[in-house]
């Protein structure tokens, strides 16, 4: 090796960026266990803000709405995204189509949001959780497509061809060969779709109806009025849910490869 394998001064940016990324979150989590009503004075350990959350009908309702949206979005994204990924990998190799399939993931969320609002309005569709689900599935599907497509390009298609040559039906091949081999990617993609929808604010803000706010919409209306111990507790719960799900996803597929 000509290049010495020591980090040297590179330790500074490496560990510096970790401090930068985790310091604000850590302070937030720490402050959520503060006994004081003041969000700034530490007066002792308490979990009372967590019971405030559980006893807040507003927040629990928002949590329920968000779960409905995230679960429905995940199901739609998995079905459409997986089919599309297989189609792109096995039946129609086209870089233009692939670009179209992945665009919803990188398209400015605000532009997607107003476009969808314009569409729903012109269709006279009443806004509610269903319109959020339709909208979330659009960009979440692109993430599933990307991850499953990535997995399909790593595995050999000759097994599928062999099954077909031996007289298996396309449907049989799909369920016996293709699906099992891409299962980890589908799980990872589904988990990420769930997290993305669970935390998504901008598109939900534009496409949700007033009577069914999702949790991010409730969080937005809370954080606009500044710091409170109740938000700290809610934020901690929401952060940990996402972190847990993404960590599980990461065990199935290297998520960093998909960005």
């Amino acid at each position: 090796m000509l290049v010495p394998n020591t980090l040297g001064w590179l330790r500074v940016p490496l560990y510096g960026v970790l401090v930068f990324l985790y310091l604000p979150i850590s302070v937030l989590i720490f402050m959520s266990f503060n006994k004081s009503d003041s969000p700034f004075m530490w007066t002792g350990f308490s979990t009372k803000w967590y019971s405030v959350l559980v006893n807040s009908p507003n927040i629990m309702e928002g949590f329920k709405n968000t779960l409905i949206v995230a679960i429905a979005t995940t199901i739609i994204s998995i079905v459409l995204g997986t089919l599309l990924a297989i189609g792109l990998a096995r039946y129609q190799k086209s870089s233009a189509l692939e670009a179209v399939a992945l665009t919803p993931a990188i398209f400015p969320d605000l532009a997607l949001a107003i476009g969808l609002l314009a569409l729903f309005t012109s269709l006279h569709l009443t806004l509610g959780l269903h319109s959020v689900i339709i909208s979330h599935a659009l960009f979440c599907m692109a993430f599933v497509t990307a991850i499953v497509r990535g997995r399909l390009s790593q595995i050999d298609s000759s097994l599928e061809e062999a099954a077909q040559d031996l007289g298996d039906t396309p449907v049989g091949t799909f369920f016996r060969i293709t699906l099992p081999s891409i299962k980890p990617a589908i799980i990872a993609g589904g988990l990420l779709a769930f997290t993305l929808s669970f935390d998504e604010f901008v598109i939900a803000f534009f496409t949700d109806g007033p009577s069914t706010p999702t949790l991010p919409i409730i969080i937005y209306s809370m954080v606009r009025f500044g710091v409170s111990p109740e938000i700290n507790a809610l934020a901690t719960v929401v952060l940990l849910i996402s972190a847990l799900i993404v960590t599980i996803a990461q065990r199935n597929v290297k998520v960093q490869d998909q960005i």
Binding site: R11, V27, L28, V100, L110
Partner: protein, 297 residues
């Protein structure tokens, strides 16, 4: 007879292939067409229409929305947004590149762990990550308290509610999107290329500048797009960390749709964002082709 059977078989196979292709591709592509391409068409159409009295649009053709966007007031907002997003992107590069480079020097299992740690916050709630900075930087917040207790300052510093706080918030939110593509570009570089440069008499610094840096350029560009695009259209960070004092184009678009109810004008602004994205991808594709072409030559 045999021939007929054979061609019938071929037809059946062809039909089956066509059917599978349709089964796999049509649902997803229809969904994208219905909920992305058609809405995009709506936005483009709206830019040429007039605003309705109570929001929505009226079908009267006009180009006034475009001339209005060129008004110095709105052009100023657009330029300020581009400046803030560019500053964020440049800072993300100068911090992100050494980080990505450092990760490539780690043993493989440590590399994966580090990448997970860097990407994990990105997948969590954006509002909360932005809010966390208010907790930290508030005049009564953690940092000010700490600095006062240590005797570094006597009066709390006003760290929030200015453009630098917006840049900080955006940098915090999107820096993983700069680090990951640069890392992927760096790990793909064949170590032999660098060794060859050194063997031919290049100093390590020269090898870095003339081999590593150009080959990492495609990754840098992808990272730059991934940081710039969501930054320029962001309305949450300017509102929460900028205190609503600095208006960015995202705030303007949000207000045109939800407050001022001028959808055609909001559409022009949104379209400008989409066009910026397309322009950046165009540049990236061209640079990519040149770098890869050079590498092959």
């Amino acid at each position: 007879m045999a021939l007929a059977v054979k061609s019938e078989g071929r037809d059946a196979i062809k039909r089956r292939a066509l059917l599978s292709r349709a089964v796999f591709l049509v649902p997803g592509l229809t969904y994208i067409t219905a909920f992305m391409l058609i809405p995009l068409g709506f936005i483009i159409a709206y830019t040429f229409l007039s605003r309705g009295t109570y929001g929505g649009i009226e079908f009267i053709f006009t180009t006034e929305n475009y001339t209005r966007a060129l008004d110095s007031l709105y052009l100023g907002v657009l330029i300020k947004s581009i400046l803030i997003a560019s500053t964020t992107t440049i800072l993300a590069f100068f911090i992100g590149f050494p980080v990505a480079y450092a990760i490539t020097k780690l043993p493989t299992n440590r590399q994966n762990l580090m990448l997970v740690l860097i990407v994990l916050p990105f997948w969590t709630n954006f509002l909360i990550r932005t809010y966390a900075w208010i907790v930290l930087l508030n005049t009564q917040g953690f940092l000010n308290k700490g600095l006062i207790n240590m005797g570094v300052i006597s009066q709390p510093l006003e760290l929030l509610y200015k453009p630098s706080a917006i840049v900080l918030g955006l940098l915090y939110a999107y820096i993983p999107l700069m680090i990951l593509p640069i890392y992927s570009a760096l790990v793909r570089i064949d170590p032999a290329m660098k060794e060859a440069a050194v063997n031919l008499g290049a100093t390590p610094a020269q090898a870095f500048r003339q081999v590593t840096l150009p080959l990492a350029l495609p990754g840098v560009l992808v990272g730059a797009i991934f940081v710039f695009v969501p930054s320029v259209g962001n309305f949450i960070v300017p509102e929460l960390l900028g205190g609503g004092k600095t208006i960015m184009v995202g705030n303007l678009i949000r207000d045109q749709f939800l407050k001022a109810r001028d959808w055609p004008f909001g559409s022009v602004l949104a379209l400008s964002m989409v066009l910026m994205l397309l322009l950046l991808f165009f540049i990236q594709a061209r640079v990519n082709r040149r770098v890869l072409g050079d590498a092959r030559a």
